[in-house]
Each structure stands twice: as C-alpha cells, then as structure tokens.
C-alpha cells in the first residue's frame, strides 16, 4: 500500500498557503479563506469549509497538472459543517421554525464537496468522512490510498475543520494530492508508506502556531509540515493508547 504525494496545499487564518507556512510568514491579522478556487457565482454561497478546502485544494493541484475535475475528491472532517448545523438547529427551534432550505442543504457533512464538485464539473468519486481527532488523518489517508491503489486514478483529500462555536479549536485545511505515479513536470514530494497503528516518536514537525494544537485536524498540519520540510520517517497521528500504539503514516523519500 503506497502512493506518491504529488501536491500539498494548506490554509490557516495565519498562514493562508503552504508557501506562507514554509516561509514562516504569519499574517499580521487573521485572514478568511478566499475561496478563489470556486467560480464567483458559486463562491457567494460557499460555506467557510468549502472556501478553505478550495484554497488548500487549488494550491495542492498546481504542481500535479490536474484540475479539480479530474481527481477523486475526499473531505475528511471531524465536525464538518458544525457551526452551520448548530445555527440551523437554533433557527429550527424558533416558533415558527426559521431555517431556510438553502441553509439546511448546506449544513450536511458533504455539502462542501458539492459546492466544489458542481462548479468544477467533477463527476468522479467523492466522499465525506468523519472521525475522531486522533483518527481523522489516518482514515482519510486510508480512503484516499484505497482509491489510488485500486486503480481509480488520483485522489485529492482535504482535511478540514472550521472554528467550532464551542469545544473546538481554530480552523485549518490541508490538502494532499495522492497519485499512483509521479504527475506533472515536478518530482513527487514524498512517497506514502503504510498507514497503521505502531509505536512512533516525535519527528520534530509542528503546527507553527501553538493555537493550532487545538485544531481538530492538527495532525494534518503536522503531516503537511513534514512533507513541506522534507522530513521523512514514521509520523505519529494522534495520541498513543495504553500500549503505546497510535495511528502513524510512513513518509518516505520519493
């Protein structure tokens, strides 16, 4: 089981691109995701999740020579459209219920994928996954690698959570394009080895900003950091259990 990482994209409020992340250039004031990867007419209705996913995916696709129409699309998110869902629940609790059909349709977990796939005219496989913080990256990678390794073509997986109204950390999105073979005119960034439960030690990669340690997809930021800095080894994903085992991914030279 393996695949090549051929593209990496990233969005946080302080580092709105992988380029900014690797340069260590934090924005002076927090930014909102631009959603520029979504055509303007569709962008107006795009949720924050869709906008930050679009920003990260657009950056990840550049070196691959692929467009948003010719990759599988996977969204892996701990809470999905949580803020929208809770607001929908609040509005539905009013007398009379006040939510709009548009808001309801946009509150489901896979809504962001539709907001990307429709304007991108992507008619391929798409899946919206959810898992616990310490499993979200491992399971998202397994689903993406599962598609690639069974001959489906390239997969773009975006790990993405918005800032939750309660009980959550800041927003972040990390997109990876995973390919069976090198793509585009640039060499692959790394090769992904097994995703499995194992003992792993800290590889010295981080999230650039201590506040991001509370982000539900913090392990995706660590993985992006390793990929962007050329760090290889067995990267821990999540916390160790009582036996010292945790989900890990092997990041290997391409």
């Amino acid at each position: 089981m393996s695949g090549f990482v051929t593209g990496v994209g990233l969005w946080t409020a302080t580092h709105p691109s992988a380029a900014a992340w690797i340069a260590g250039e934090a924005a002076s004031s927090p930014a909102s995701p631009s959603g520029e990867g979504i055509p303007p007419r569709a962008r107006r209705r795009a949720t924050p999740i869709a906008r930050m996913a679009a920003d990260a995916l657009a950056e990840a696709l550049v070196p691959t020579g692929r467009t948003g129409a010719d990759v599988d699309l996977l969204l892996a998110s701990v809470g999905g459209e949580l803020a929208n869902t809770l607001e929908t629940l609040r509005l539905l609790g009013e007398d009379p219920p006040a939510s709009s059909p548009l808001r309801f349709g946009a509150s489901v977990h896979n809504a962001a994928l539709g907001q990307l796939a429709i304007p991108w005219e992507n008619r391929r496989f798409a899946s919206a996954l959810a898992a616990r913080d310490d499993r979200i990256v491992a399971t998202g990678l397994l689903e993406a690698v599962g598609r690639v390794a069974t001959g489906a073509g390239d997969a773009a997986v975006v790990f993405c959570d918005e800032a939750w109204p309660v009980q959550g950390g800041p927003a972040a999105a990390v997109a990876l394009v995973i390919s069976e073979a090198p793509r585009g005119d640039r060499p692959p960034i790394a090769r992904l080895g097994p995703v499995r439960r194992a003992v792993a030690s800290d590889l010295g990669v981080g999230t650039a900003d201590p506040a991001l340690e509370d982000c539900p997809v913090r392990d995706a930021l660590r993985l992006a950091d390793a990929l962007l800095r050329g760090v290889t080894g067995v990267l821990p994903l999540g916390d160790a259990d009582a036996d010292g085992l945790r989900w890990t991914v092997s990041v290997e030279p391409a």
């Binding site: 609040r90 709009s100 896979n110 796939a117 992507n122 008619r123 499993r135």
Partner: protein
C-alpha cells in the same frame, strides 16, 4: 479495476418494519408498512408519515453500558440494541483475524443530532452545554462509529461516511478497498440514522416531505416520508471459512456535479455508478436479476433514476422501491436496502413497491412490480443518491 468480493457473514436490521430482522421479514410477508402518521403529537407544525423503529424490547430506552456512557445518545442506544445479532460473527472474526484487523465504517448523517437539538437553547443562553454534552463524543457523526467500535472491541480503522443519503451504501465500497489493499480482513459496516426535528423540518422546508404516504415510482408521487433505522453487516475477505449470507461484489461511486439537492435529470451520474459497480464486481448488466431502487418518491429522483436504469439495464429486470415500507432512512438507507437485498437473495423473494397511483411516465417499458417478486435472483443491484449529487450502486450476489 475488478476487486475481490466481500463475504457478508452476518446482518442486523432494525427499522420501522421491526427491531429485528425476523420481524422485518414477517412484516414484509404480511404486507404491513412500518409508516405511521406523525404531526402535532410529535411536536411538528405539519403532518407527515414516518417510519419509527418500534422498539419492541425497549432497546432504544436502555442506557448504553457504563463504559460507554460518554457516548450515550438515542442513536448510540439504538446502535447498541441493534448490534446483538452480529456478536457471534464479530467474535469469530476477532478470533480469526485479530481485533486490529477489523474496521468499523458506518454511514450516518444525524449522529447525536436528536439529543443536541434539545440543548440548543442552552448553547444560545450560556454559550455551551451545561450538562456535559459533548460534540466530539456524542453529537458528531463519528461518535456513532466510535461507540460501535468500543462496544464490539475492535481496533482497526474507525470512521464514518457522511455523504448524506448514499452514506451507508458507500461504506461497502470503503470496506472492499480496505480489504483489497490489505489494511484489514473484515469490517463492521452499515448505517444508522435516527429521528430528529432537524431532518423532518429541513426536508419539509425543502418542500419534498409528503403529508401523505409516499408513492415511489408512481405518477402520483409528491415527496418522501422519513424513517429511522440501524442496518449493520459483518463483511469479511473472500476466503473466510464463515458461510456467506451473500456476496458484496462491488460498489460504484460517482458525482452528478449538477445541484446541491437535486439529481441530474438524465440520471447519467447514477448510471455511471451502476456501470462502475458492475465492473468492480465482474458482472454484466444482463446478469442483474433485481434492483432495489433508491425510489424516494420525489418527482425528480424517481424520474432520473428510471432514466438511469433504462439506460444501463435494457433487459428490464424487476425494479422495486422499499421506502413505502420503511420510510427514507437517509444515511442508513443504503445499508437498509443492502440488507433487504441480502434477504431477497436468501429468500428468493422480494416485496414489491408499496405505492399508489399509476406508474410514472418516465418508467414506461420498465418492470415496476407492486406485488411480491419471486426469484431466481443471483445478482441484485441497490442504488442510492444523495445531496451534493453523490451516487452509489451496490452489487450483491447470492451466497
């Protein structure tokens, strides 16, 4: 690419037709729909029909075991009650492969929504949940899978597909790939969605919730009836010594790229999913003996689905829709209909579509039986479609 099939070695089904598979079978044989009228008595500002799990043995009322109290919700209780028929097969699989070689992949859209919505006022008033309610452990979609994994003591990958109404059809594709690439040897898969105002009011707001009994595949169709269900399966690699109830041959998964809440009218996205599922399963279109269609009873879905089925299956196998019996169970629908398809393969018998009115014009030339259908059935296709245009087609073979 053709993939090895999965052996379906155990099933569990709780839905409006009964809280155990044998009750479901008895209701279908007796021609008893599980839909009941809901309205003001359930706090709704409108009237509709709903497929509620009957809860004969009080499972949905029983608290989950103490070690799982952190996950407690009505959805967790229903999952807990529904899991019992899987226990022997899970224990066998754990002994055969090891707990870390078994995945849990569940389709759901609601998670603990029904419980969260009773606490939204506290969130507004206090900026938090004042009774310890946890978004991570109880509300979020993944909480359902986390609870099932803990209950069954499995330690492989645990996650949720939350792709609206095709969620629990897609989990079968995920499991097939996880086995094919050697990550696991078995998986507990399925779907669970439970009653909540969020979906009832949301679909009513979209104008697609029917105040009458739903009329799938009928010219008189005017919308859906919702329902709740837990449908779960144990699937294993194809060389398992366990006796298969049926084979999961392949799942096709595509996107419409058309509209957030409406299907592509020509059905081409769903047609592509059916073709892909057949290719993965190594089946030819003319080998399909029965279709359990998504058949929600909305004007747009049923028309698009008939276009897809007419295109891909020109030999016109019988097409039945079962949502008139169960209601549309949303994130659980794909798994409910997969289990009903397993039962059809075993029994060589399928219920017809429970509906009213003349057949829909778009189904002209198709075989749309309303009376029960007898086999032979060697291959059944179950279709699902969803918000965001996410289609799935599950191809199942006789065990």
């Amino acid at each position: 690419m053709r993939l090895p099939p999965l052996s379906i070695t155990a099933c569990a089904l709780a839905c409006a037709l009964g809280d155990h598979e044998h009750d479901v079978r008895a209701s279908l044989r007796a021609g008893r729909s599980g839909l009941v009228r809901w309205g003001a008595d359930q706090g709704l500002p409108f009237s509709t029909w709903f497929g509620a799990i009957p809860d004969h043995d009080g499972g949905a009322q029983r608290p989950v075991p103490a070690f799982l109290r952190d996950h407690d919700s009505r959805q967790a209780r229903i999952a807990h009650a529904a899991l019992a028929p899987l226990q022997d097969a899970v224990d066998d699989a754990k002994a055969r492969y090891g707990a870390d070689r078994i995945a849990v992949v569940i389709g759901t859209t609601t998670g603990g929504m029904g419980d969260t919505e009773t606490r939204v006022e506290a969130l507004r008033a206090h900026g938090g949940f004042d009774d310890g309610w946890s978004l991570r452990r109880q509300h979020n979609a993944h909480a359902t899978a986390d609870g099932i994994a803990a209950l069954l003591g499995v330690a492989g990958p645990v996650f949720v597909q939350s792709s609206a109404c095709s969620s629990s059809a897609k989990v079968l594709g995920t499991a097939q790939r996880l086995v094919a690439i050697g990550v696991v040897d078995a998986a507990i898969v399925g779907g669970i969605d439970t009653a909540c105002r969020y979906t009832l009011l949301g679909f009513h707001g979209l104008g697609i919730l029917s105040e009458h009994r739903c009329r799938p595949l009928s010219a008189a169709r005017e919308g859906i009836n919702l329902g709740e269900a837990a449908a779960l399966m144990v699937v294993e690699r194809d060389d398992t010594p366990a006796t298969p109830r049926a084979w999961m041959l392949g799942v096709g998964e595509t996107s419409d790229a058309f509209h957030a809440t409406q299907p592509r009218p020509d059905g081409s996205g769903l047609a592509a999913a059916i073709r892909e599922g057949l290719a993965i399963g190594g089946m030819a279109a003319d080998e399909v003996d029965l279709v359990n269609a998504h058949a929600t009873g909305t004007p747009l879905n049923d028309a698009a689905e008939c276009a897809a089925l007419a295109d891909v299956l020109p030999h016109h196998p019988p097409i039945v829709g079962t949502k008139g019996w169960t209601g549309h169970t949303l994130g659980a629908a794909g798994a409910v209909e997969a289990v009903l398809s397993v039962m059809a393969l075993e029994d060589q018998w399928s219920p017809g579509t429970l509906t009213e009115g003349p057949p829909l014009a778009e189904g002209a030339g198709l075989d749309l039986p309303r009376e029960p259908v007898a086999g032979p059935f060697e291959c059944v296709v179950s279709t699902s479609a969803a918000f965001a245009g996410h289609n799935a087609a599950v191809v199942l073979g006789r065990g």
